[in-house]
């Protein structure tokens, strides 16, 4: 069966980096470490694991960074080659989970169920007893053991040699705890947006928006738009201002609940106007209470620091790499800068809910399936990756790979 495979090859990574720095993100798919090849379906690593056949699998910014050779070296120890990428997956369960003796495990999903995969490989899938503190607390995103256990190192399905990944017709394997059944009412497009929305939900809750706060979101790609939707659904900001470079992104941001959507250069001025603050050395004397960075570049992070009020909070959601920033304003104005990665479970009030459950509600309420702009078969992966790399410029948001015929249940588009 065909799948896309990323192999460890330093020359190819170097070539990819060179080509993408010249031609733009996503243009190095043909020359980089990614290739289309035949693979065997991965073996089940142990009891409790099930096989899933992907239906749709999204292309994420972190995937593009890997393919462009731009990823931070921080990740080197927590991925294992060769791996099949693809961690935003909606698929169909192929077989029942079996226990050690081959008997079915109660409480797991039946074959044919449409599921969305929560890709983080924490202690439980890795069979680590007792689980680390984060996993015991439900915060799988914070698992410290992603390089250990009986699986090859890999922070998520889609970065691990043993599990397969979403960009594959051969299928992937996932532990039962990582599978969430998708309600009937959600289409396949909605379902594939659940994983990115879960990141956005986690970030929106990490921002700790007080009612009436001014919140600025910088970035109009998938991360920015899902975060905007999550902020509107889960919090009560006084003003939600979004900076997005392209017109279609601004329109969508407005539809998803932004009070004002302008191009990024105008965002600082809009924040200044609303907060009626002064400006000195490029920074505002007042500013937004919370600024969410959904881009991850040095320029965007600098702009976030310029826009946030003293003692405000900058939430970094867009994955950064090695960045050079002038932190004088962070120190002088006592600003906090926090990272927000992945998901797990969230504490809302006194209850504890899994992020994916909240994400499903947000996707349904905001109808985020409309962010899926194009579907590609695996064979046209170079075009798909190029499209994903230039999505904004080409009027698109999320690009996905489409594996088989759609199941009769999720046929709405």
């Amino acid at each position: 069966m065909k799948a896309l495979l990323v192999e460890r090859s330093l020359p190819r990574f170097a070539a990819a980096r060179l080509v993408s720095s010249v031609g733009g993100s996503g243009t190095s798919a043909g020359i980089g470490p990614l290739r289309l090849t035949d693979v065997e379906a991965p073996a089940l690593p142990g009891p409790g694991w099930q096989r899933v056949r992907p239906v749709l699998a999204g292309i994420c910014g972190s995937d593009l960074a890997t393919l462009d050779g731009r990823s931070s070296r921080y990740f080197e120890d927590i991925v294992s080659f060769p791996f099949v990428p693809g961690h935003e997956v909606v698929g169909v369960v192929e077989d029942a989970a079996t226990g050690p003796a081959g008997a079915p495990v109660p409480g797991t999903l039946a074959p044919g169920t449409r599921v969305v995969v929560e890709p983080v490989l924490g202690c439980i899938p890795r069979g680590i007893e007792p689980p680390c503190e984060a996993c015991a607390d439900g915060r799988v995103g914070g698992c410290e053991r992603v390089a250990f256990g009986h699986l090859a190192p890999g922070l998520q399905i889609g970065f691990c040699a043993d599990t397969g990944g979403g960009w594959s017709q051969a299928g992937l394997v996932a532990h039962a705890v990582q599978l969430h059944p998708v309600p009937e009412a959600l289409s396949d497009d909605d379902a594939v947006m659940i994983e990115p929305t879960a990141c956005a939900v986690h970030a929106a809750l990490a921002a700790q928006v007080e009612p009436g706060d001014m919140v600025a979101v910088l970035g109009g790609g998938t991360v920015g738009l899902t975060t905007t939707a999550a902020l509107r659904q889960l919090a009560t900001p006084g003003a939600l201002l979004v900076g997005a470079r392209y017109g279609h992104q601004r329109d969508l941001a407005g539809e998803l609940g932004a009070d004002l959507a302008v191009s990024p250069e105008q965002l600082t001025r809009a924040v200044r106007r609303r907060s009626r603050s002064f400006e000195s050395s490029g920074h505002l004397s007042g500013g937004a209470d919370i600024v969410v960075d959904c881009v991850g570049s040095a320029d965007s992070l600098s702009q976030c620091l310029a826009m946030v009020r003293p003692r405000g909070r900058v939430v970094v959601v867009g994955m950064p790499a090695k960045t050079t920033l002038d932190l004088a304003s962070l120190w002088h104005r006592e600003v906090s800068m926090v990272g927000a990665y992945a998901y797990g479970s969230e504490r809302t009030g006194t209850a504890r809910r899994r992020t994916f459950a909240i994400a499903m509600e947000v996707v349904a309420a905001a109808r985020l399936g409309r962010l899926v702009s194009a579907r590609y078969p695996l064979e046209r992966f170079e075009e798909a990756v190029a499209h994903a790399g230039s999505a904004g410029r080409r009027g698109a948001v999320k690009i996905v790979f489409e594996m088989h015929h759609r199941s009769p249940k999720g046929s709405a588009s």
Binding site: R269, A270, R276, E279
Partner: protein, 528 residues
């Protein structure tokens, strides 16, 4: 050879192309046969000896006023206020008219032994002047004698300690002006009268006023009822200022008004082709035009602006009057009309304008789209007496590159106005709901008081200036402008004049009449 009066040309097949300003560039456009082109009167003969003329005016004032030496005595408080850098346009060669007048006034003051003298630049809500600009206005001698002691001041309309509220007119308008000026024993105002709107009571009532005062006549309603604001008899702006001016006089502020008029010798000899009638261009003029337009077209904007803004006009004084405000202004207005009026019969369907690189609000700066609109629909459209040159529902076509560019130091609030307010509405009556927020924004106030920025509310005034035109016209088209910027203004972009005429005929019908105001120099139409 005495200067020829203005006249109206009817374009026929032999007529050469007509010169159009196009911002920092020049174009020659072929106007359709049958169009009218208004040419201004040639520059009047200037005064032979301006210094003596000024002296005479000071010693023999008009109206109910004593000669200036009689008003000066030792121990008094004297304030001399003068117009800011928005006049004349382009800036005139040294010595500036203001320098000549103020030096004479100070000579008399020195003779009388007056020690307490303060000079104030009456800039209302305009930006503060730089040192170079002040030196240009008043000359080095005055600058060096007064500025080091802090006696050469610029009016600060946001300084509560230096404003005094003189009362309300019978229409309920606040009159609040500069305190030093109001509490002096004598306030001498030195004016340069470029267009009929300037001068008279407006000098003090607007030039030295605060926002609280100005908003009573600087608003959309007043401008819609000023048809036009260049015509004193039909201008609500004029009437309001006159009420305020009379209240100022009645509250005991003694004003000695000195007004000067200039001829319209606008450009140095190398650029005189700009003012000459095209069929009278010599070979030298034609070469000059070709060289200038080609060079400017190939020069980057910044450099072109630098070059153009360094042009100094060889303006000369044509008259100087002094004394009581209203008497002086009546005389001045006559002199302005004498220089600028051209008689025209009947209105037109389409009015075409070539907009220059400079307007009163971007001296040594960038002409942003809002100023383009103000210059065309505010100033040029309203340069008429009687009836507007273009008929109700007609079209104005303006030629200007209209770049989406702003000077962040001079026009910070304009950027926000363009991005926020005009994105929502271009109706002068509607934009007013944001006015308060911009006028009181502390950052703009800070920049106005300590930097060189126009007051936060100023872009609104620019937009109100267009109110009469926007109400009167059917469409506004800009030729050769940045499409996004023109659309944001609410106007229609066109690439060429021919396209613009096509678009216009959608509004005014096929075979419309067309009139072009040939500028420079300044020209005013007397429409019957």
């Amino acid at each position: 050879m005495s200067p020829r009066p203005g006249f109206v040309l009817e374009v026929d097949r032999s007529t050469p192309s007509t010169l159009f300003w196009h911002g920092e560039g020049l174009r020659l456009e072929r106007l359709p046969v049958g169009s009218r082109v208004l040419y201004a009167p040639e520059p009047l003969d200037p005064l032979e000896d301006p210094v003596t003329a000024i002296r005479e005016a000071l010693l023999h004032p008009l109206g109910d006023a004593e000669p200036l030496p009689a008003l000066l005595r030792a121990g008094m408080k004297l304030t001399i206020a003068f117009d800011d850098v928005s006049l004349p346009l382009p800036p005139m060669r040294r010595p500036d008219a203001r320098q000549l007048v103020i030096e004479q006034v100070l000579d008399l003051a020195a003779e009388a032994g007056v020690d307490d003298v303060v000079l104030i630049c009456a800039l209302a809500l305009h930006r503060r002047l730089t040192e170079a600009e002040l030196r240009h206005c008043v000359g080095d001698r005055i600058y060096d004698a007064f500025e080091p002691q802090g006696l050469l001041q610029q009016h600060d309309a946001e300084d509560p300690g230096n404003l005094i509220h003189l009362g309300l007119t019978d229409h309920g308008e606040d009159v609040e002006i500069n305190k030093r000026a109001a509490t002096s024993d004598l306030l001498v105002y030195v004016n340069v009268n470029l267009v009929a709107m300037d001068g008279g009571h407006k000098s003090v009532a607007t030039g030295l006023a605060s926002y609280r005062s100005l908003r009573h006549h600087h608003n959309a309603r007043t401008m819609q009822q000023s048809k036009s604001f260049m015509d004193q008899h039909k201008s609500e702006l004029h009437t309001s200022n006159w009420r305020m001016g009379r209240l100022i006089a009645d509250s005991g502020v003694k004003v000695f008004q000195i007004e000067t008029t200039l001829n319209t010798d606008t450009f140095p000899p190398q650029m005189r082709f700009l003012e000459r009638r095209e069929w009278e261009w010599s070979a030298r003029d034609r070469a000059g035009y070709i060289a200038t337009s080609a060079t400017l077209a190939r020069t980057p904007d910044r450099l072109a602006r630098q070059v153009l803004h360094s042009v100094r006009s060889p303006y000369r004084l044509t008259s100087v009057q002094a004394g009581e405000v209203e008497a002086v202004h009546a005389q001045t207005t006559e002199n302005v009309y004498r220089q600028q009026l051209v008689a025209v019969e009947g209105q037109t369907d389409i009015l075409t304008l070539g907009l220059p690189y400079i307007c009163p609000y971007n001296v040594n700066s960038i002409m942003n789209p809002i100023l383009v609109a103000c210059l065309g629909l505010g100033y040029f459209f309203n340069m008429y007496k009687g009836r507007p040159l273009v008929r109700q529902g007609g079209v104005v076509i303006m030629s200007h590159p209209t770049p989406w560019a702003f000077h962040p130091g001079h026009h910070p609030s304009y950027i926000d106005f363009f991005e926020q307010v005009l994105a929502e509405t271009t109706d002068p009556l509607e934009v007013g709901k944001y006015e308060e927020a911009y006028a009181t924004d502390p950052w703009y106030v800070h920049l106005y008081r300590t930097g060189h920025a126009y007051h936060g509310v100023h872009p609104f005034y620019m937009w109100y200036w267009c109110a009469h035109a926007l109400e009167h016209l059917g469409a506004v088209i800009i030729v050769g402008g940045d499409r996004a910027a023109v659309r944001r203004l609410g106007f229609t972009p066109a690439s060429t004049m021919a396209d613009a005429l096509e678009l216009a005929s959608d509004v005014v019908g096929r075979d419309p009449s067309l009139t072009h105001l040939h500028s420079p120099p300044l020209i005013m139409a007397d429409v019957s």
